[in-house]
C-alpha cells in the first residue's frame, strides 16, 4: 500500500536538564562590577549609596600594603579554625553518642533540639563573662554555633545508615568497634560532610558577631570598624575577604567530599 500522508513525528522531549555553561558565572560578576563602576563614576549612584568598586579594591590593596591584612586575617583564621574544629569534633563525638547509645539519645537529643535554635550571638555577653573577653568568648561563639548543627547532622546520618549493613556486620561476627568504625561512620560520612559545609558557613557568619566584642584585629572587627566609621569602601573590601574565606572553605570541603566519598 502506498504511503499517503507522511508527517514527521514532532520532537517534544528535551529541556529540564540545565547544563554547566563555562564562564557564565564569571561573566555575571563582571557585568555587575562594570555597571556598578559606571554607575558610580557617572554620579547616578552617589558615594553615600555605594562606593566605587575600584575604591573597594583600593581599600583591599591598601590593606595588603599596610600589612594589616595579615594581622586581621590571621586573627580571624585562628578563631575560625579553632572554633570550627573544636565545634565539629565535639559535635561529631556527641552525634555519635546520640546515634549509638539509648541513654545519650534520650538524655541529650532534646537538649540539643532546645539549644540549637538559640542565636549564639544573644549569648555573647555571657560568653564574655564565662570565657573571657579575649579569644575565649570568640572561639566559644563559633564553637557553640557549629556544635549543634554538627551533632544533628551526625546522628541523623547515623540513623540513616542502612540497617541491613549493620546486620551483615553482626552476622559475620564483627566486633562492636569494627561495626562503628567500618560501617556506621563511613555510612554517616556523607551527612557529616554536608553538616561540615553548613557549619563552615555558620562559622563565617558568626565570626563577625564574635568579633563585635573586644576584638582589635580580625576581618569581622575590620568590617565593623569600617561600618562605624562609614568607610563603605573598606566595608566592602572586608565583605569580599569574608566571601573569599567562604569560597575557600567550600572548596576545601568539596575536596574532602571528593576524597572521602569517591565510592559514590
Amino acid at each position: 500500500m502506498p504511503p499517503t500522508d507522511k508527517k514527521q513525528v514532532p520532537f517534544r522531549g528535551g529541556g529540564f536538564a540545565p547544563k554547566k555553561v563555562r564562564f557564565a558565572g564569571l561573566a555575571v560578576f563582571a557585568v555587575i562590577l562594570i555597571l556598578w563602576e559606571l554607575g558610580t563614576r557617572s554620579g547616578f549612584i552617589t558615594p553615600l549609596v555605594l562606593p566605587k568598586p575600584s575604591e573597594a579594591f583600593g581599600a583591599l590593596v591598601e590593606l595588603v600594603r599596610s600589612g594589616l591584612l595579615v594581622k586581621h586575617l590571621s586573627a580571624s583564621l585562628v578563631r575560625l579554625i579553632a572554633g570550627w574544629s573544636l565545634g565539629v569534633s565535639l559535635g561529631v563525638a556527641l552525634g555519635i553518642a546520640i546515634g549509638l547509645f539509648s541513654l545519650a539519645r534520650s538524655g541529650l537529643a532534646p537538649l540539643v533540639s532546645a539549644l540549637f535554635p538559640i542565636p549564639k550571638i544573644a549569648l555573647l555577653p555571657l560568653f564574655v563573662i564565662w570565657f573571657g573577653i579575649d579569644e575565649g568568648s570568640k572561639i566559644a561563639t563559633i564553637l557553640f554555633g557549629t556544635l549543634f548543627p554538627t551533632v544533628i547532622a551526625t546522628y541523623s546520618g547515623i540513623d540513616n545508615v542502612d540497617r541491613s549493613l549493620i546486620r551483615m556486620g553482626q552476622s559475620f561476627g564483627l566486633s562492636w568497634a569494627s561495626i562503628v568504625r567500618k560501617i556506621i561512620l563511613p555510612g554517616a560520612m556523607p551527612a557529616i560532610l554536608a553538616g561540615f559545609r553548613i557549619s563552615a558557613s555558620i562559622a563565617i557568619i558568626l565570626l563577625v558577631a564574635a568579633e563585635m566584642i573586644g576584638a582589635e584585629y580580625g576581618i569581622g572587627a575590620y568590617i565593623l570598624m569600617a561600618g562605624s566609621l562609614m568607610q563603605t569602601d573598606q566595608l566592602l573590601a572586608g565583605v569580599a575577604i569574608l566571601s573569599g574565606i567562604g569560597l575557600i572553605a567550600a572548596w576545601g570541603i568539596g575536596r574532602a567530599e571528593a576524597w572521602f566519598l569517591k565510592w559514590r
Binding site: S164, L165, G169, S171, F172, G173, S178, K182, G187, W263
Partner: protein, 258 residues
C-alpha cells in the same frame, strides 16, 4: 555440624509470626524453606543465625564446626549488603579483619574466593560499578571466605532478573558439587526450591507452621537434565501453596513483613 531448630515460635507484638517449627539441617544438605509472603520465613532465618531471639523454642548447633571455620553460620542477603565505600576486595577483607590472620594468609583467602567466584578481574571495582548478579557473587565470595559450616541464604536471587537468576543458580549448583556445603535456603520461588533443595519445607502463612516437608531424591547436579521428574514435585508444591498464596495476595499491606 548440624543446625537444629526445636519448636520455634515467635511473635511481633500481637502478631504471631511463627509457631512450633522444628527442623534440622544436616551436614552437606540444602534445606529450602518456601512459603507465601508473610509466612515468617525470613524471620525464621534471622532466628536461625542468632540475629534475633526466638520468642520460644531452642536453636542448637550439634557437633563442632570444622576447625578452620571462622564464622560457622554465615548469611547471604537478598540485598547483597555490600559496603558501597569498599571495593570488592575490601568487602571481603572486611569480614576477615577481625580474625587473627597473618596478612599473607588473609590475602591468600581473598585470592582464593575471588578465583572460585570468577571475580579476580573485578577485585578493585566498587559495588556501584557492578551488576546485581556480580554483587551477589561478591557476597557469595565474602561468605565463602569465612569458611561457613552452614550458609543461611535469604532469598539470594530475588533481587535479580531472570537470566541472572538462572546463571547464579548454575553457579550455586556447581559450587555445591565442589564444596558440598550445607544451607538453609529461604525463597518464595518454587523453581529455586526444587532445583537446589534436598528437602523442601513448606510453611503455611500467619502464623507460619510447617505444612509439609518434601524430600527430593534426585541428586542436585542432575536436576537440570531431569526436568520432567522435577516438574512432578513442582506441581505438588504449587498445590500446597496456591490457596495460601492467593490469600496472601489479597491481603492489605498493613501487617509486618517477612
Amino acid at each position: 555440624m548440624r543446625l537444629v531448630l526445636e519448636n520455634i515460635s515467635h511473635r511481633y507484638g500481637n502478631v504471631e509470626v511463627l509457631e512450633g517449627i522444628s527442623l534440622e539441617v544436616k551436614e552437606g544438605e540444602i534445606v529450602a524453606i518456601i512459603g507465601p509472603s508473610g509466612c515468617g520465613k525470613s524471620t525464621l532465618l534471622r532466628l536461625a543465625g542468632g540475629l534475633e531471639k526466638p520468642g520460644g523454642g531452642r536453636i542448637l548447633q550439634e557437633g563442632a564446626p570444622p576447625a578452620n571455620s571462622l564464622n560457622p553460620l554465615t548469611y547471604i542477603f537478598q540485598d547483597f549488603a555490600l559496603l558501597p565505600w569498599r571495593t570488592v576486595r575490601g568487602n571481603i577483607a572486611l569480614v576477615l579483619e577481625d580474625h587473627k590472620l597473618a596478612s599473607d594468609q588473609r590475602k591468600a583467602i581473598i585470592e582464593d574466593v575471588l578465583s572460585r567466584t570468577s571475580l579476580l578481574d573485578f577485585a578493585h571495582a566498587y559495588p556501584r560499578q557492578l551488576s546485581g548478579g556480580m554483587k551477589q557473587r561478591v557476597a557469595i565470595a565474602r561468605a565463602l571466605s569465612v569458611r561457613p559450616a552452614i550458609m543461611l541464604m535469604d532469598e539470594p536471587l530475588s533481587a535479580l532478573d531472570a537470566q541472572t537468576r538462572a546463571l547464579l543458580m548454575e553457579d550455586f549448583v556447581g559450587l555445591w558439587r565442589r564444596e558440598q556445603f550445607s544451607a538453609l535456603y529461604v525463597t518464595h520461588n518454587l523453581q529455586e526450591a526444587v532445583q537446589l533443595g534436598h528437602r523442601i519445607v513448606v510453611l503455611s502463612r500467619r502464623p507460619g507452621r510447617v505444612r509439609e516437608i518434601i524430600e527430593i531424591d534426585i541428586p542436585v547436579e542432575e536436576r537440570a537434565s531431569r526436568a520432567v521428574e522435577l516438574e512432578r514435585h513442582s506441581r505438588h508444591l504449587w498445590q500446597l501453596m496456591r490457596d495460601e498464596a492467593r490469600a496472601a495476595d489479597r491481603e492489605l499491606l498493613d501487617a509486618a513483613n517477612g
